[in-house]
Each structure stands twice: as structure tokens, then as C-alpha cells.
């Protein structure tokens, strides 16, 4: 008998399932499709900005205490220091165990600044090993290398923008045919191509000729998929330079690496991950959900479990849907939502308003145990938990908190579910 069904295979769902499986529970993930992690930069943003403020946060763990004062219902406020610390510690250990080590700036818990795909500085809390050398607090000059003919990566643009911000950076190109015989190729296919030792050796020897002594080399995030660690190590060893990846447009290779590693780990723990399962109905008796049903070719497929954990994402992820009349609903259980009352209140006039748009703060309100509640604060179901982007009272993209909220709430919700 499945104890816990997690709905959603983004970071929140994968972390929640892993946490529960590690605790010895029978876990299954079902998801409509793949998403979320394939759109991430692969780093862990914890908290970068407060709404309405354009100055970035330097120490997110300290800033969270302020958030708790101003927004007592924010997921971070519900979690508190101890649970956030525990979830992050757990994630770091997990990431190391699955061969994708992450690290933060320093012991003080400062945010890291890394270059974005257009050369802007982005604050993040934990970075995968291959992104660390791109830290903008460092002064060594950067050589940004692109592949001529590759779509979606423009080294001149990145170098120019970095230069405008006072960093020393220059751009260079290598021919695409060092890595591939194809002309039409995606970042994911390039990453798989570099898994081949012969190709990356050729690539490394040409790369070495470009770099001047003392320069660190920024490359698009294509440095191997399954053999990422070897690819990264060999490129550094052969060029003698520090190398860093800059995430590209989706689908994101660093995000896919993390998904693959987490899914493989879940499989080893005996947990199944099934995608292409769109939940269309549920059956509850009293306050307990007994099963959910997913759409299938013949007849709906029943998933019985003792507990259900929603990690379906927000409006972008598909956990929350809206229509043109201003209706807004939670897609699995029709849970009560916190949302603007009328459609006219969804958006502010300016697209890049630093206060963000009210509709993106819409979501499922939960109690301190991450169980969905109604307007009176009463728990809706006894055996349902929620985590990640589907939660109310936060705007993970605006706050630069997307992965942080996913990891910390996913971890905490799974722990609460495990205790019941």
C-alpha cells in the first residue's frame, strides 16, 4: 500500500518524495508532465528581494526574520529558522550524495552573485559546483566563450553587460563543430555530446588556446549531462583555468541534471515517478481523501494512498488555474485559495512593478504543518499537505525564492506528513 502520493515532479515534489522515502515510507510521485526544474537555472535561490524594494538582500537567512514580522503568513515565516536550516542542510547532504554538490558563499550565509544569460548579476544562495567560479564578487577577469552557430547564448552581450557593471570580461567564440557534426542542436543535445570523452578533449584543447593566464572561463551550461562531473574536471585540468557555467534559456541543463539525479536516487529508494498522469478527480470520505484519479486511455487510474502531498506549482506550474472571468481555482482538490477578489485586481499597471502583481501571490493557504486551510483557518483534509509554488502569500519569482521555497516547504511538508 502506498503511504504517500506526491503530485508534481518539480523540485518541491522531488524533495518531498525523497525526504519521505529516506524516512522509510512507501512513496510514489505522479505528475502531469515534466516542468519546473527544466526551467530553473540550477542554482538554489533562497531570498533575493523583498517586494517593493530594488536593493537586493545580502543575507537571506537574516532577512527572513524580517519577512516573518511583515508577512507572518509567508511560507518562510511558517517554517521558522530551525526548519529552514534543517531543510537546507538536508539538501546539501543529498546533493553531495547524488553527485551534484552545491555550496553557498560563506559561513555568514551571504548570497552569491552569478552572471545571468544576459550578463546581469543575479543573487542566489547555493550554486552547483560548476557555477561557483562565476562569482561576481571576485576580481579575476572573465573570458566568456560561445559556440558559433549555437542558439540562445551570446557571449558578446554577456561580456558587454558585465563590463558595464564594472567587471572585466571579454567574449570569444569556438566553432560548434568541435563538439557536434550537427548544425541544428539544442543545449541538451550538446550536453550529451560532451559526455563523450573524445569530443570534450578536442573542445578542451581549443579552449586552452583562447584563455589568457589568470582568466576564468565562462561557458554555456552544456558541460556534460550524465558525465557532468568528469567533463567539468577534465576541462579545468586541461585548460588550467577555472571554468564556470552560465545557465541558458530553457530547457536548462543544470536543472535537468538535478532532476535526473533526484529521480535516479528515488528509484534506488524504491519510489516510482510516473509522468503523463493528469489528476482529474478525487474521492474523499469525511475529512480524508481516499484516492485520486488520473486521466488514462481507457478508464481513469485510481491512486489510493494514506496521504497526499500537493506539489503542483502555481499558475505557471499548473497547480492553480484561472479563466478570463476572473475565476481562480486549485486544480486537484478545489481547495480554498487566497487570491485577488476580482480580475481587475490581478495586475498592476506596470509590467516590471517592483511590488509584483497580486495574482502571482495567489495560492493555497496552509497552517504551520503545511496542511491546506479554509478562510477560517480550519484544516480542509486530514491527510493532505501542500508545498512549493502552489502556496499562498509569496511570489517566488519576484522574491528570487523559487528553489528555496520548493526545497524548504517540500522537506517540511514531507516531515509533517510522515509524523501523522
Amino acid at each position: 500500500m502506498t503511504e504517500l502520493v506526491v503530485i508534481g515532479a518539480g523540485l518541491a515534489g522531488l524533495i518531498a518524495a525523497t525526504r519521505a522515502a529516506q524516512a522509510g515510507h512507501q512513496v510514489k510521485i505522479i505528475a502531469k508532465g515534466l516542468g519546473a526544474t527544466h526551467w530553473h537555472a540550477g542554482s538554489v535561490d533562497l531570498l533575493g528581494y523583498f517586494p517593493n524594494e530594488t536593493v537586493a538582500i545580502q543575507r537571506p537567512l537574516d532577512a527572513m526574520r524580517d519577512i516573518a514580522r511583515v508577512q507572518p503568513q509567508h511560507p518562510y515565516a511558517l517554517l521558522g529558522d530551525a526548519q529552514i536550516g534543517d531543510a537546507l542542510k538536508n539538501f546539501l547532504a543529498l546533493a553531495r550524495a547524488i553527485g551534484l554538490p552545491y555550496s553557498g558563499a560563506n559561513q555568514d550565509g551571504d548570497n552569491l552573485w552569478l552572471p545571468s544569460p544576459v550578463g546581469a548579476a543575479r543573487p542566489t544562495f547555493l550554486a552547483p559546483r560548476a557555477q561557483r567560479a562565476g562569482e561576481l564578487s571576485r576580481t579575476e577577469p572573465m573570458l566568456i566563450v560561445g559556440l558559433r552557430g549555437m542558439r540562445d547564448f551570446y557571449p558578446e552581450l554577456i561580456a558587454e553587460n558585465l563590463g558595464k557593471q564594472g567587471h572585466r570580461a571579454r567574449a570569444a567564440f569556438l566553432p560548434l563543430d568541435l563538439i557536434t557534426d550537427r548544425r541544428d542542436i539544442t543545449t541538451v543535445q550538446l550536453a550529451y555530446a560532451l559526455d563523450d570523452p573524445a569530443r570534450r578533449e578536442k573542445f578542451a584543447s581549443e579552449l586552452k588556446k583562447l584563455a589568457q593566464s589568470g582568466e576564468r572561463i565562462g561557458l554555456p551550461a552544456i558541460l556534460g549531462m550524465d558525465a557532468h562531473a568528469d567533463t567539468f574536471d577534465e576541462l579545468q585540468a586541461q585548460t588550467g583555468a577555472e571554468i564556470f557555467e552560465i545557465p541558458t534559456l530553457p530547457p536548462s541543463v543544470p536543472g535537468i541534471r538535478l532532476t535526473n539525479a533526484l529521480r535516479n536516487h528515488l528509484r534506488e529508494l524504491g519510489a516510482r515517478v510516473d509522468v503523463n498522469m493528469d489528476v482529474i478527480a478525487f474521492h474523499a470520505e469525511g475529512a480524508r481523501v481516499l484516492w485520486i484519479e488520473s486521466e488514462a486511455s481507457g478508464r481513469p487510474l485510481k491512486h489510493r494512498a494514506e496521504k497526499f502531498l500537493l506539489a503542483t506549482g502555481g499558475i505557471i506550474g499548473g497547480g492553480i488555474n484561472t479563466d478570463h472571468t476572473g475565476k481562480i481555482w486549485e486544480t486537484i482538490f478545489g481547495l480554498p485559495l487566497v487570491a485577488p477578489r476580482e480580475r481587475g485586481q490581478w495586475f498592476r499597471a506596470r509590467f516590471f512593478d517592483p511590488a509584483g502583481h497580486p495574482i502571482f501571490r495567489a495560492g493555497i493557504p496552509v497552517n504551520r504543518e503545511f496542511q491546506p486551510i479554509d478562510a477560517n483557518g480550519a484544516r480542509v483534509f486530514a491527510n493532505v499537505w501542500a508545498a512549493g509554488g502552489t502556496l499562498a502569500h509569496c511570489d517566488p519569482i519576484l522574491e528570487r525564492a523559487l528553489e528555496g521555497i520548493a526545497i524548504t516547504t517540500g522537506s517540511a511538508a514531507a516531515c509533517f506528513a510522515g509524523r501523522k
Binding site: 502531469k32 508532465g33 516542468g35 486521466e295
Partner: protein, 420 residues
């Protein structure tokens, strides 16, 4: 359940957010640049294929293998594979169909002809010279695993010849062309298991499900077959008999694909759809009701299980795995390769054979990794079994043959029913 209509497939186009996750997972685009990937050939190109416009903007869609991995991973529910299938049909309608593809669409007739004198037919077609000629003249890949006609006679003739169990409980069996003419043993195993469980098996007149035609863009001919099957099978559905099939792809066509792609949707298609089961799915359901005889003999073997793309396209979970797991001693190992590559008639075509073998490499690697102790491999689709046998030199058996062996009814090595 999603309603099947032209409208619904077309409407999903608007759900595409161009995230390219489908391209990242497409097993064909990963190994050849002849196919630009599902997003480009599907939702992107579709915008230029106005209804009624005969000229397709993109002939590369012919390189889509119809494995449906794109549908599976899409976070937005876009029916990419169906969009591609319709685009192929549009090309065939405008330009006509190559003779080879016309033949491939008619495997029912080819089966019937070869079945008259299988030894002669096998000798005539499956000798190196004929295969070389077929490649040169027709473009049928010389080394592709095209099945041999069964020299033990067709399934239907065996069924008529041998005495049958009579019972109150009746099940209708859809065998499909491959079981009838190439692998009658699969049908015999199915009948043996069903009769062992106390069911009377009815094998009504039936036609090819039409999948080879759908895959080769011959929609009008496929529709004739679909309507003929409807006429032949719906009366049994109306009597309340379950209709089970051992070919996952036939069942998928009859209960969803044909209706969706051909835009044939009515009360009859719904009635047939509701009565149809994949045999493993039906046995799993029986087990969930506590009605499956689980008195299995020990089957001490390591058995790699390749989950075929057609089985995953059902979104029904892993029924064969669920049922085989009940067999004591059997060490079933689930692989996670996306596709065996052969994909219907795709890998039979000389210009696509190499692509199919490259796509299948992951599945072959998984099977080989289980070591020499694993003598056999299993998969729900006959196509996958032939390809795995071709790529790994191991024996391939259907899950129902494994089950029949576990009931003591079947010899897996000899591939025949045990006497008595």
C-alpha cells in the same frame, strides 16, 4: 477523460509555451538532425498548416517515429504526437504514399498471404538476396527485424482447432495481426491463462487495428479498418463482455488513438473504449478485486522489462510489472529507456533503420547490463520484443507468456503450451 475530437487536438496547440522540454527528451532528435524535434515539427510548424492547405511547410515531420515521448513529458498537455501524425496524413493526401509504406500499412493482408505457405514465404522473403533486393527497390532495411511468418499456423486456426472451455464468465480477445500471423504463441498463452482463471474466451472476427496505416499517414484507409472493428466489436461490448488485447499498441489505437486522430467520435467509440482492456491491466484489476488466482509456481529468473513507449502512452501505470511482481522467485527489473527505436514500421525503413538502432541503444544497454544470467527479456509490445531480440540477441517473451509459465501452463524456452 479528454474528449476526442479534431477540435481538442487542435486546441492543445495553444497550450504550447515553447519550453522545448519535448525537444530535450525526443529520442529521435537526440540521434539525428533530420528530425528537428517535436516542438518545431509539431506546434511550431502546425501554425503554417492551415486547414485545407495541402502543402506542408515541413517534410521533416516524416522523421517523427510516433513514440509519444513528447506527449509524456509535456507540462502543458499538448498532443504533439497527434499533431505530427495529422501532418503526415496531410503530406500523404497531397503527395501520395510511397509503395513501401503502402505495403507496411497492409500487414494484415501480408500476414494472410504469407500464412498460406509460411515456409515458402519465409524462404522467399527472408533470404539475404530478397532482403537486399527489398532494400534496393523498396527501401525496406535489409537488417531490420521484420518478423517471420509463424510455421505453426495462425492463432485463429489454432483457436478453432482446439477444444475450448465453456463458462458463464466470458472474455473477448483481440489478438491483432502480429499474434495471428507471427506470434500465435502469445495468443495461446493468453487463452490458456484466461481459461485457467475460468473464463470462456471468445475470438470474434476482427481486423487490423489500423496503426500501421495511421503511422504512415493513410488516414482514409485506417478509418475503414477502425469502422469495421467498431462494427465487429461493439456488439460484444454491449453484452457487457470485457474485450482484452495482448498488443498494447492495438488496444491504444482502438480505445483512443484512432478516434482522436481520425476525429471519429460517437456513442459507439465510447462503448468500445470502455469495454477494452490491455490484458495485464485487466488482470491487475482482477487482482485488485481479490479475484486473481495468485497460486503461481516459482519462476527463478532475472527478467529485464522494457517499458514500451506505447504502454506508457496509455497512462495506466505499469500493469504488467504489477502482475509479474506477484510471481515468486521472479526478479523483474524495470528499465527506463525511452523507446526501443523500432516504433511501428519506422525502423523497417532503410533511411530510418540506423536512427532506430541508435534510439534503441539505451534499451539494449539496459538489457545487457542485467548480465548473462538474464536469458530473456520482456516487453508489452511485439515491436519492442523484436527490436530487443535484434539488438541484444536475447529471447524476448510477452508478459502473458511469463504469466502462463508461472501458472505451469507454458514452456518459455520451447515457446509452446504444455500438454495437458
Amino acid at each position: 477523460m479528454h474528449t476526442a475530437s479534431w477540435h481538442s487536438v487542435g486546441m492543445t496547440l495553444d497550450e504550447c509555451i515553447k519550453c522545448n522540454i519535448c525537444t530535450a527528451y525526443c529520442p529521435v532528435a537526440a540521434v539525428t538532425e533530420k528530425f528537428p524535434g517535436p516542438k518545431y515539427a509539431g506546434p511550431q510548424a502546425q501554425r503554417f498548416r492551415e486547414s485545407g492547405q495541402l502543402k506542408s511547410p515541413d517534410l521533416a515531420v516524416d522523421y517523427c517515429s510516433a513514440c509519444r515521448v513528447c506527449n509524456e513529458v509535456c507540462p502543458s498537455g499538448v498532443k504533439i504526437a497527434e499533431i505530427n501524425a495529422r501532418a503526415k496524413a496531410q503530406i500523404v493526401a497531397a503527395r501520395g504514399i510511397p509503395l513501401r509504406n503502402w505495403f507496411f500499412g497492409r500487414n494484415e493482408i501480408l500476414g494472410m498471404i504469407g500464412n498460406r505457405a509460411p515456409q515458402i514465404a519465409n524462404l522467399g522473403f527472408h533470404n539475404p538476396f530478397s532482403r537486399w533486393m527489398a532494400e534496393k527497390i523498396l527501401g525496406v532495411a535489409r537488417h531490420a527485424p521484420i518478423p517471420h511468418w509463424s510455421t505453426r499456423g495462425s492463432f485463429a486456426s489454432w483457436f478453432r482447432r482446439t477444444p475450448r472451455l465453456k463458462s458463464e464468465n466470458k472474455v473477448v480477445y483481440f489478438h491483432g495481426c502480429s499474434t495471428n500471423y507471427y506470434e500465435p504463441e502469445v495468443g495461446q498463452a493468453a487463452v490458456a491463462v484466461l481459461e485457467h482463471l475460468g473464463y470462456e474466451v471468445i475470438v470474434p472476427p476482427q481486423n487490423c487495428c489500423g496503426l500501421p496505416m495511421l503511422n504512415n499517414g493513410e488516414f482514409p484507409a485506417a478509418e475503414k479498418l477502425y469502422r469495421s472493428n467498431l462494427a465487429k466489436l461493439v456488439p460484444y461490448a454491449d453484452r457487457g463482455y470485457p474485450i482484452v488485447g495482448t498488443s498494447v499498441s492495438c488496444v491504444l489505437v482502438l480505445r483512443e488513438e484512432a478516434s482522436e486522430m481520425l476525429d471519429v467520435e460517437n456513442d459507439q467509440t465510447h462503448r468500445l473504449g470502455r469495454a477494452l482492456w490491455d490484458l495485464s491491466e485487466w488482470l491487475r484489476d482482477l487482482h485488485e478485486q481479490g479475484k486473481l488466482d495468485t497460486n503461481f509456481r516459482e519462476l527463478k529468473m532475472i527478467l529485464p522489462y522494457h517499458v514500451s513507449c506505447q504502454a506508457r502512452a496509455h497512462r495506466m501505470g505499469r500493469p504488467s510489472l504489477d502482475v509479474m511482481t506477484l510471481i515468486p522467485g521472479l526478479d523483474v527489473r524495470e528499465g527506463n529507456a525511452k523507446c526501443c527505436g523500432l516504433a511501428g514500421t519506422y525502423g523497417y525503413k532503410s533511411e530510418k533503420y540506423e536512427i532506430a538502432m541508435k534510439v534503441g541503444a539505451d534499451a539494449f544497454r539496459f538489457v545487457r547490463a542485467q548480465g548473462d544470467a538474464a536469458r530473456m527479456v520482456t516487453s508489452d509490445s511485439e515491436i519492442c520484443r523484436w527490436q530487443l531480440q535484434h539488438g541484444t540477441q536475447k529471447l524476448a517473451r510477452a508478459p502473458i507468456e511469463i504469466l502462463a509459465a508461472a501458472y505451469g501452463l507454458y514452456d518459455l524456452d520451447q515457446r509452446r503450451l504444455k500438454a495437458g
